[in-house]
């Protein structure tokens, strides 16, 4: 797990994330194969990525880390250097290019390690939040949820609906970039959550993929009232490791929570 230090720049956003190893991975002595990263951008914007390396892939943790890093580097650079996309179409192109950048990073990583590309199999979720809109992209399982200013929590990108639960699309698949989910919603959002597939069955009503509100409401309240972000992150990780969760989910678990904190003024 790699979590960047919180920015010292005042931002209306509070973002915390935790990624913990699943009990089945502990049993098999596998590392945590999820990765999560985010970065703040000028103008109260931010971007985040969650990737879930395939349990069956030999270098899954390298794949998920590389996919997160490459997609965020690319997306962050583009959002800093050129005007923020003004239309849905342009957002979709930018997100598709970011997924492409992540895939290319996996191809390069596989070549450098002289390993087959499938050894780096990972899913990838990307979220970009600006004061005017939110845009998300997803290949494979997991979900991104956003709440508008009136608190309506909606699923932005959802678990892919393959017939079988254990067969998802990975960024390394031939067809991964043929039809990724690319979603755009105009308007300001106040909250967002990204989760890897280990939490899907607990946080979402399946197979529709709609949010289970009693799961998210306490988490967002916790985020809002949390003091020190580092301590809050530890508490979030402890929650993900708690027996209540571990009894029901044995995969790696990643959760990123973001909330716009009302300014004290």
């Amino acid at each position: 797990m790699e979590i960047p230090a919180a920015s010292s720049k005042p931002s209306p956003w509070r973002i915390i994330a935790a990624s913990v190893r699943g009990s089945s991975h502990e049993k098999k002595n596998q590392p945590c194969q999820d990765a999560v990263r985010w970065q703040s951008l000028p103008g109260d914007s931010w971007i985040a990525a969650v990737a879930d390396g395939a349990g069956s892939a030999a270098l899954a943790e390298a794949g998920s880390a590389a996919a997160c890093a490459a997609s965020l580097d690319f997306l962050g650079r583009r959002l800093r250097e050129v005007p923020v996309p003004a239309t849905e179409e342009k957002w979709r192109l930018l997100l598709a290019d970011s997924l492409q950048a992540a895939r290319q990073a996996l191809v390069a990583e596989a070549a450098a390690r002289q390993a087959p590309l499938r050894d780096l199999a990972t899913t990838l979720l990307l979220l970009a939040v600006t004061p005017e809109a939110v845009a998300g992209a997803q290949v494979g399982d997991g979900a991104a949820l956003v709440a508008d200013s009136s608190g309506n929590l909606l699923t932005l990108t959802r678990p892919c609906l393959n017939e079988y639960l254990n067969e998802t699309t990975f960024l390394t698949s031939e067809s991964a970039l043929e039809k990724p989910q690319l979603q755009f919603r105009p308007g300001q959002i106040n909250q967002a959550a990204l989760l890897s597939d280990g939490l899907q069955m607990l946080a979402l009503k399946m197979p529709e993929g709609t949010p289970h509100r009693p799961f998210f409401a306490p988490l967002f309240r916790f985020l809002e009232t949390a003091g020190d972000p580092a301590a809050a992150q530890d508490q979030l990780a402890a929650f993900l490791r708690s027996s209540r969760i571990q009894q029901r989910a044995n995969d790696d678990l990643t959760l990123l929570l973001a909330g716009r904190i009302p300014s004290p003024a």
Binding site: S24, A54, Y164, L165, E167, K205, P218, R221, F222, S242
Partner: protein
């Protein structure tokens, strides 16, 4: 400022039905299985239940059905979770109606999937695990051909993962013509080892994801 929220108490979980992982055991009970082979097979089934019961997630998710074939194709056990699975005491007699048995296994799976879908239950790709010591016998050849054809199409469309295991004098070449995945030859009558391996594989399937192919640990009980 900190409203002290205990996440472990405050967060409520969505109530989704437990996902299911269906597995059909398709077992040859023809006359040639009489004696040691059928005894070893019965012991293997008991070991299978014992091993699978030890994994809490697999015991909630894996559903087993048993179909036997000799001169008759019989559903000995329709899909149940491991706790309700009573290993049958099988006896051996008659010929080897393998074609009809394959059709029956694929029918059972198709019906089970419809039930899952109707109830909003997520599921894993179903497995059929066929064990035989011979080759199709006593059935019209066209029935065997139709079964092989359907199996090819079901594998190609990912409807099922069908594994065949040959015991003792099984006709491995003939088996390879009928099934898609390379059949495995059981070493001796080590059914216990084989079923423990199957149990471990089901546990792995029931708690992870794979990319396209079902990834299996290499069997220590057989040879390709």
């Amino acid at each position: 400022m900190a409203e002290n929220i205990k996440l472990e108490e405050a967060v409520e979980f969505a109530e989704n039905p437990e996902p299911r992982c269906p597995c059909v055991l398709l077992l040859d009970t023809s006359g040639s299985m009489k004696g040691d082979p059928i005894t070893a097979l019965n012991q293997g089934l008991i070991a299978f239940k014992e091993d699978l019961s030890k994994d809490p997630l697999a015991s909630r998710r894996v559903e087993l059905a048993v179909v036997t074939f000799d001169n008759e194709v019989k559903v000995r056990q329709d899909f149940v979770t491991v706790d309700q699975f009573e290993p049958p005491a099988l006896t051996a007699q008659g010929q080897t109606f393998m074609g009809g048995a394959i059709q029956k296994a694929l029918d059972l799976i198709q019906a089970r999937k419809s039930q899952y879908r109707a109830n909003g239950i997520a599921y894993y790709r179903p497995w059929v695990f066929m064990i035989t010591d011979g080759e199709p016998q006593g059935e019209p050849e066209v029935i065997v051909q139709q079964a092989a054809q359907r199996l090819k199409s079901d594998e190609a469309n990912k409807r099922v993962a069908f594994f065949a295991v040959g015991v003792e004098n099984a006709n491995m070449a003939r088996l390879a013509e009928i099934v898609v995945r390379t059949p495995v030859k059981l070493i001796g009558l080590d059914f216990i080892e084989m079923f423990v391996w199957l149990s471990k594989s089901m546990e792995a399937v029931a708690q992870s994801r794979t990319d396209e192919q079902v990834a299996l640990p290499p069997p220590g009980w057989g040879a390709v």
